[in-house]
Amino acid sequence: MKFKDYYAVLGVERGATADEIKNAYRKLARKFHPDVSKDPNAEARFKEMAEAYATLKDPEKRSAYDQLGRHGSGEEFRPPPGWSTQFGDASGAFDGMDFADLFGGLAGHARQGGRRGPGHARRGQDYEVAVPISVEESFNGTEVSLDLTTTEFDAQGVPRRAPRSVKARIPKGATEGQVLRLPGQGGKGSHGGRDGDVYLHIALRPHRIYRVSGHDLFLDLPVTPWEAALGASVEIPTLAGAVNLKVPAGSRGGQQLRLAGRGLPTPQGGAGDLHAILQIVLPPEFTERERALLQELAGASTWNPRRHLQ
């Protein structure tokens, strides 16, 4: 297994006091806790420091950790002979174990009379997984494959890491910030404990055309000044295919035209709306004829849009 330098993870010296360890952990936790931080790597960083703190805050686990000696982070190593018997696990079988599992079984060793043995009902572990999906996948529903590393317990109650692949069908209409549940797909329960759940935190990837708020979609719709002035029928893309939209005569820039029910589907069977935001745009260059017509219009019109500024 690979060694982890828990002191380095928390940024403290090996001789740090319990208070120094606690303070270092708390400072880092405030920065990287997934409920507080927006950093996409925060969760992985936090898991690392929580694992380090869980071991170093407990005097018994810290002593067991210290007796593993000094190694570089990521260095391949095996616990020294006799280490496992000294710390309450006579099995000494480290194959397939993760570094953190070495100390997991020592929790409250003295208080609880050792590792939880056979027969103790243990609920399987729950998992929180971020699931980024596209706007199209939200519209149609999709399937995702999740790779989890679950902790399972053998008949002796010894933890083992096991890779687990979970396939999930995401219903249509799942949108930003929603949390869906995969019942019973987390870690396996043991001795009658029920299996854990997986919680899927949906995040929508940015879309080339649409911006999303809840189940509503927003799109910028460029129109020419004469389309806005005279009215027009323009083709716009929706997630279910192109539709024609009537731009009323006398439309203004920034005006929103709503297409009811053309947004993302909702769990209740309805759908959000699609809002087209009119943007009046000019061609990058005018032809001679266009320029002449505009000059004619400029001469003929007496309208002053800045009257209210005077």
Binding site: A29, D35, G177, L180, D197, S213, F218, Q279
Partner: protein, 112 residues
């Protein structure tokens, strides 16, 4: 190891959870859930004290409460305060996302 495709389920807002079910799903004891109710961090959807029923959103709140309590070693009042802030931040983020969605981008026009 692979498994069959499982349907991800929506939190059904009409469904109600008993205290024991909520505690089980959140990984807390019933006493800890009641403590969160006491501090105002969790609000039962209906029922009289002792027979409270909780909405499905309570699962997320109670799970966040468990993480915050364990990871920051906070007392229930500290957890309740943090949950209130997290809730406010989430509301503000939703509002900000909505305003951004309504804000037109500059439309690039390709030169031909």
């Amino acid at each position: 190891m692979t498994s069959e495709c499982t349907d991800a389920v929506w939190p059904d807002e009409q469904r109600r959870l008993q205290l024991a079910d909520l505690a089980d799903l959140a990984g807390l004891s019933e006493a800890e859930v009641l403590e969160l109710v006491d501090c105002g961090a969790l609000t039962p959807a209906e029922g009289a004290p002792g027979q409270w029923l909780f909405g499905m959103r309570s699962i997320t709140v109670a799970r966040t409460a468990r993480r915050l309590r364990a990871d920051f070693e906070l007392d229930p009042h500290g957890v309740a305060l943090l949950l209130a802030f997290i809730d406010r931040i989430r509301d503000l983020q939703d509002e900000l996302a909505d305003l951004r969605a309504r804000l037109p981008r500059l439309v690039p026009v390709a030169r031909t």
